[in-house]
Symmetry: C2
Subunit: 373 residues, 2 copies
C-alpha cells in the first residue's frame, strides 16, 4: 500500500470529503467522475475536448483492450498512455464485469475464469495474475483486481461463493504483486450483493490483504434502490477512512450525491456519453429527449444556465435536426453537453464540500428535478 490518497476537506454534516489521489500521471481531485473510454477513446469526443471539459481521468477496459488491439501492441508503445496519447491519469477496469455480462457461459475456477470471446467465441482464460500482468503492461495509474460478479437476483449461497472466490483471487493477486511489484495503484473490488453480512465479509477480507483503494462492485445491477443505498451507506462507514472508495458504474446524479455523502470518492458511468448519443440530454430542470417534435422550432439552448460550447452556440431545433439527420455532429455536440453537465456537478460537489455546503447543493440539484431514471 502506498500513501496515494490525502483528504483535503471533510463535510461536517456527512461523511463526504474532498481529497487527492496521487498518481504517476498527476493528481485526481475527488470526488471525481471518470468518463468511460473502454477502447481508449471517450466516444464521440477527441481527447482535447474531454480535457477541456474538466475530465481528470478516463477509464479504459482491460478486457476490450486485451481482445483488440491486443496488449502486445500497446506494450510496444510503452503503455496505454502513449498508445492513446492521453497524458493524464487512467484507471483500468479488470474486465470482470464485461466477462460476466458479455459472456454468459463463463466458468469460474479457483485459479481464474474461462470464457469465450464475445467477438469470435475463442476460448480465453483470465487468472487474477494475468489480469494484473495485463494492467501492468497497460501501465494504467489505477488497476482493478479481477472479481467475481453475479447478476441480480442470485441466491445468497451463490453470492457467498462469489465473495469466497473474489477474496481467493485477491490473495493470489497480492502474492503475484509481491513477486512483481509495481508503482501503479492497485484497488480491490468488494462483492456481496445486497447482503450486508457478505458485503462486510468481502470488505474485511480485502482490507486484511490490503490494497490502495476499495471499490464497491456488483451494485446498480437491478437491485431495489433502498437496498442499493443501504449497501453504499453501510460500506461507507465500514471502509478505512483514509483510503479512496470507488462506486463502480453508478451514474444517476441523485445516487452519486447520496454516495458522496457516504464518503465515496470516485465514480464512472457510460450514462452521460451513451445518453448523449441516444439524444437524451441532462439539464438542471430535467431530461430532454432531443428527437421529440416539440423541439423542432425551439430556439433555446439545451439548458439556459449551461456554459458548455453546445449550449453557448446551438439551439434545440438545430440539435434535433442533427439528431434526426443522424449527423455525427449530433453525437459530438450532445456528448459535450452531457459530459460538461456531469463534470460541472462534480466540480460543484468538490467546492461545496470545501465550503461545507454540500447539503444545500444537494437540495438545489434535487429540487431542480434532475430526474434521470
Amino acid at each position: 500500500m502506498k500513501k496515494s490518497f490525502e483528504i483535503t476537506a471533510s463535510d461536517s454534516h456527512s461523511a463526504a470529503r474532498t481529497g487527492i489521489i496521487h498518481t504517476a500521471h498527476g493528481p485526481i481531485h475527488t470526488p471525481a467522475f471518470a468518463p468511460v473510454a473502454s477502447q481508449g477513446a471517450v466516444k464521440a469526443l477527441p481527447h482535447s475536448m474531454v480535457k477541456n471539459l474538466g475530465a481528470q481521468l478516463i477509464l479504459v477496459n482491460s478486457y476490450h483492450l486485451y481482445l483488440r488491439p491486443g496488449i502486445k501492441i500497446i506494450k510496444k508503445f510503452g503503455g496505454i498512455h502513449s498508445f492513446i496519447s492521453w497524458p493524464s491519469p487512467i484507471l483500468s477496469d479488470s474486465g470482470g464485469f464485461q466477462i460476466y455480462s458479455l459472456t454468459p457461459l463463463a466458468r469460474i475456477k479457483n485459479d481464474g475464469v474461462e470464457f469465450s470471446s464475445h467477438l469470435d467465441g475463442n476460448k480465453i482464460f483470465f487468472s487474477p495474475e494475468n489480469i494484473i500482468q495485463i494492467q501492468q503492461d497497460l501501465g494504467t495509474d489505477i488497476m482493478m483486481l479481477l472479481d467475481y460478479l453475479l447478476p441480480y437476483p442470485s441466491s445468497k449461497k451463490d453470492i457467498q461463493e462469489a465473495v469466497r472466490v473474489t477474496t481467493q483471487w485477491a490473495k493470489r493477486s497480492r502474492i503475484f504483486l509481491q513477486k512483481n511489484p509495481t508503482s501503479q495503484l492497485v484497488w480491490g473490488i468488494c462483492q456481496g450483493g445486497i447482503h450486508w453480512d457478505l458485503r462486510r465479509q468481502s470488505m474485511d477480507e480485502l482490507m486484511d490483504i490490503g490494497f490502495d483503494g476499495y471499490a464497491l462492485g456488483g451494485l446498480g445491477i437491478g437491485e431495489p434502490k433502498t437496498q442499493f443505498m443501504e449497501m453504499v451507506e453501510r460500506s461507507g462507514s465500514h471502509l478505512p477512512k483514509h483510503q479512496p472508495r470507488y462506486l463502480m458504474g453508478i451514474g444517476y446524479i441523485k445516487d452519486i450525491l447520496r454516495a458522496v455523502e457516504c464518503g465515496v470518492d470516485l465514480f464512472d458511468c457510460v450514462l452521460p456519453t451513451r445518453n448523449a448519443r441516444n439524444g437524451t440530454l441532462f439539464t438542471s430542470t430535467g431530461k430532454i429527449v432531443i428527437k421529440n417534435k416539440k423541439y423542432e422550432k425551439d430556439r433555446r439552448p439545451i439548458d439556459k444556465g449551461c456554459s458548455c460550447y453546445t449550449c453557448k452556440n446551438f439551439s434545440r431545433a438545430y440539435l434535433r435536426h442533427l439528431y434526426e439527420r443522424q449527423e455525427i455532429g449530433s453525437a459530438i455536440l450532445n456528448t459535450i453537453h452531457n459530459l460538461h453537465f456531469y463534470l460541472d456537478i462534480f466540480q460543484k460537489i468538490r467546492q461545496s464540500i470545501q465550503s461545507n455546503s454540500l447539503g444545500q447543493l444537494k437540495c438545489s440539484i434535487i429540487n431542480e428535478k434532475v430526474e434521470e431514471e
Copy 2:
C-alpha cells in the same frame, strides 16, 4: 450584378489569381475551398473545429434543407446562419445535382422540374423561381441558380436541350430577381458537357443575362480527364476575368491545381470529409488506407510534416485501432486531418500566387505523389 469580387494578385505564368469575394458575412479569400455541410454541418466536426482549420465558408444544400427540416423552420430562425450558428459565409447549392442524381425519374419542363423525394417518394416541383425563393429564405451569401444537369455520357442533342433549359431557367431567375431583389450574390451554372461549342454557348447566354459569378457544372461526372481539363481551360479563358469562377464538386488536388492555373477561384468537394470517414487519409507522399494491417504498430503520425491536431498527437496505430473499433473518434480525427490537408494546400496556393511561385508549388505537390485517384 454587384461589385463583389476583387482580384488582389495575378500569376504571371498562368491565369491564376488571388481575390476576395465580399459577402454579407465577411470576405472569402480565393482560391478557396468550401467544405461540404449539406445538412448544415460538416460531417464529424463541430463548427469551431471547421473554423480553426481555416475554412472560410461552407456549402449547404437547398434540396436537402428544403426536405428536412424544411425552409419554414429555418426562415423562422432568420435564416441558415442563425439556424446552424455559423457566422461566416455560406454558399447554397441549388440542389440541381441532387435532383438528378438522387431522383432518376425527374421530369424536366420549361418552368421547372418535377421529381419524387428520395426520402418518401412525395412529388415535388422545383421552379427556377422557387429555388431562388428558398435560397432567399435561407439567406445564404452566395446562391446558385437551378440548372439542368445530364449524366455522362449523354447525346449531344440532349446536352443541347439541357443548355437551352438551363438558359431558359436563368432568364426566369433574372426576372424573378428583378421583382424580388436581394443583396445575396447570385451565381449561374454553365452546362454543355464536354462539347466546347455548347459550353461556350451556355456561358455566353448566362453572361448575357449577367450574374455575380459563374460556375462550371456537369463536369467531373465520369468524362475522360483530358476532355474535362479542356473544358476547364477553355472556360477559364472565356469567362469574364473580373468575376469569380467556381468549379463545382471537384476535389482531386491535381485537378484543383490545374483549374487554379485556369483562373478558377472556388471549389467544393466531399472528398476530404467522406474519405476521412472511410479511413482514407491524404498525405504529402500519397494516400493512406488506415485500416490496413501494416499500420497496426505504426508509431508515426499520418503525415510527419503535418501540423494538424491529429498528426501532432496520434499514431497511425491508434487511428487504425479507432477505425477498426468503429469509434466516432475515428471519423473526427481523420476529418480533422483531411480537411487540414485541403485547407492548408489552399492557403499555400494563395500564398504562392501572391509570391508568383504557383508553378513551384504545383511541382512540389505533384512530385510528392499526391495520388488521390
